[in-house]
C-alpha cells in the first residue's frame, strides 16, 4: 500500500500567494499611471478619448463572462458533471480567443492611426499623451500575455479532465487555473475604467 502526499488547501494557498505577487507587479504599473495622471491631467483626458470605448466595453463583458464560465466549471466538476465541466472550459477558452481577436483589431486600428510606442504621431502630441499610450500598451500587453497563459493553462486542464486525470475527487489543478483566470479578470476590472473612461 502506498501513500501519496496530497494537500489541496496548501496547493490553493500557494496559488493565492503567487497571485498576490502578480497584484504587486500590476500595481507598480498602476502607480506609474497615477503619477502621470497627476502630472498630465489634461493630456490624459485627450489620450483616453482616442481609445474606443466599444472595444474596451466588449472585452469587459467577454472577460466577466469567461470568469463566470470557469467558476461554473468548478461546480460542475464537484458535482461530477464531467461533460458540462469540459464544455465550460472550452467556452472559457473560446472567450479568451474572442478577447485576443478583439484586442488585435483594436491595436491594428490604433497603429493605423500612427499611435504606437516611439511613433512620430505620438512624439508630436507631446510627453503627456506619449506616456499614456506607452503605459497603455505595456499594461494591456502584459495583461494580454496573462490571457494567453491563462487560456493555455485551462486548455491543459480541460484535456486532463477529458482523460480522467482531473476528477470530481481531485480537481485542485482546475481550481488553481480558475484562480489565475479570475486574476486576469481582476486586473481588467481596474484597467478598463482607468484607461478607457477618463474624461
Amino acid at each position: 500500500m502506498s501513500f501519496e502526499h496530497r494537500d489541496d488547501t496548501g496547493d490553493r494557498f500557494g496559488m493565492w500567494l503567487f497571485l498576490y505577487t502578480e497584484v504587486i507587479l500590476f500595481s507598480g504599473l498602476f502607480i506609474l499611471y497615477a503619477i502621470a495622471l497627476i502630472t498630465y491631467p489634461q493630456e490624459y483626458i485627450t489620450a483616453s478619448n482616442k481609445l474606443n470605448i466599444w472595444f474596451g466595453g466588449a472585452n469587459t463583458v467577454v472577460l466577466l463572462t469567461s470568469s463566470l464560465t470557469i467558476a461554473l466549471a468548478i461546480t460542475a466538476i464537484q458535482r461530477n458533471q464531467i461533460r458540462l465541466c469540459i464544455n465550460l472550459c472550452v467556452a472559457t477558452i473560446g472567450l479568451a480567443i474572442v478577447f485576443l481577436i478583439n484586442k488585435y483589431f483594436e491595436w491594428s486600428h490604433e497603429i493605423s492611426l500612427g499611435i504606437y510606442p516611439a511613433s512620430e504621431t505620438l512624439r508630436d502630441m507631446g510627453p503627456g499623451v506619449t506616456s499614456f499610450f506607452n503605459l497603455y500598451y505595456f499594461t494591456a500587453g502584459l495583461h494580454g500575455l496573462h490571457v494567453l497563459i491563462g487560456a493555455t493553462l485551462i486548455t491543459v486542464v480541460a484535456v486532463m479532465v477529458a482523460k480522467g486525470k482531473v476528477t470530481s475527487d481531485r480537481y485542485v489543478l482546475l481550481e488553481n487555473s480558475a484562480l489565475y483566470w479570475h486574476l486576469v479578470d481582476l486586473v481588467w476590472i481596474f484597467l478598463f475604467p482607468l484607461y478607457y473612461l477618463i474624461i
Binding site: F13, T39, L64, T75
Partner: protein, 98 residues
C-alpha cells in the same frame, strides 16, 4: 492537513454575481459619460473595488476558504497601501517632476 471538501457553489449564485458585475460595469460606463471632475475617478475606483470583492469572495471561493486565506489578502492590501502611500509622500511633495 485534512482535506475538507468545499460544498459546490450553486450555479444560480455564480450567474447572479455575473449579472451584478455586468450592471456595475454599466454604472461605471454611464457615470463616465458625465464630467463630475475628480468625483469620476473615485466612483470608477469604488465600483472597481466592489466588483473585485465580488470576484474574490464568490468566483474565487475566498468566502469558503479558511481565515489564513483572508489574512493573506489583508496582508497583501496593507503592503499595497504602504507601496502606494510611500510613493506619493515623495511624488506629491516634489517641486518639479522630472
Amino acid at each position: 492537513m485534512s482535506e475538507e471538501k468545499h460544498e459546490p457553489v450553486p450555479y444560480q449564485t455564480f450567474i447572479l454575481i455575473w449579472v451584478a458585475l455586468i450592471i456595475l460595469t454599466g454604472i461605471t460606463v454611464g457615470v463616465a459619460q458625465f464630467d463630475f471632475g475628480a468625483v469620476n475617478i473615485w466612483v470608477a475606483l469604488s465600483v472597481a473595488s466592489l466588483k473585485s470583492a465580488l470576484v474574490l469572495f464568490v468566483f474565487m471561493h475566498l468566502r469558503q476558504e479558511s481565515l489564513l486565506f483572508k489574512i493573506g489578502l489583508l496582508a497583501m492590501l496593507i503592503i499595497l497601501v504602504i507601496f502606494i502611500g510611500l510613493t506619493f509622500t515623495d511624488v506629491l511633495y516634489r517641486e518639479v517632476l522630472p
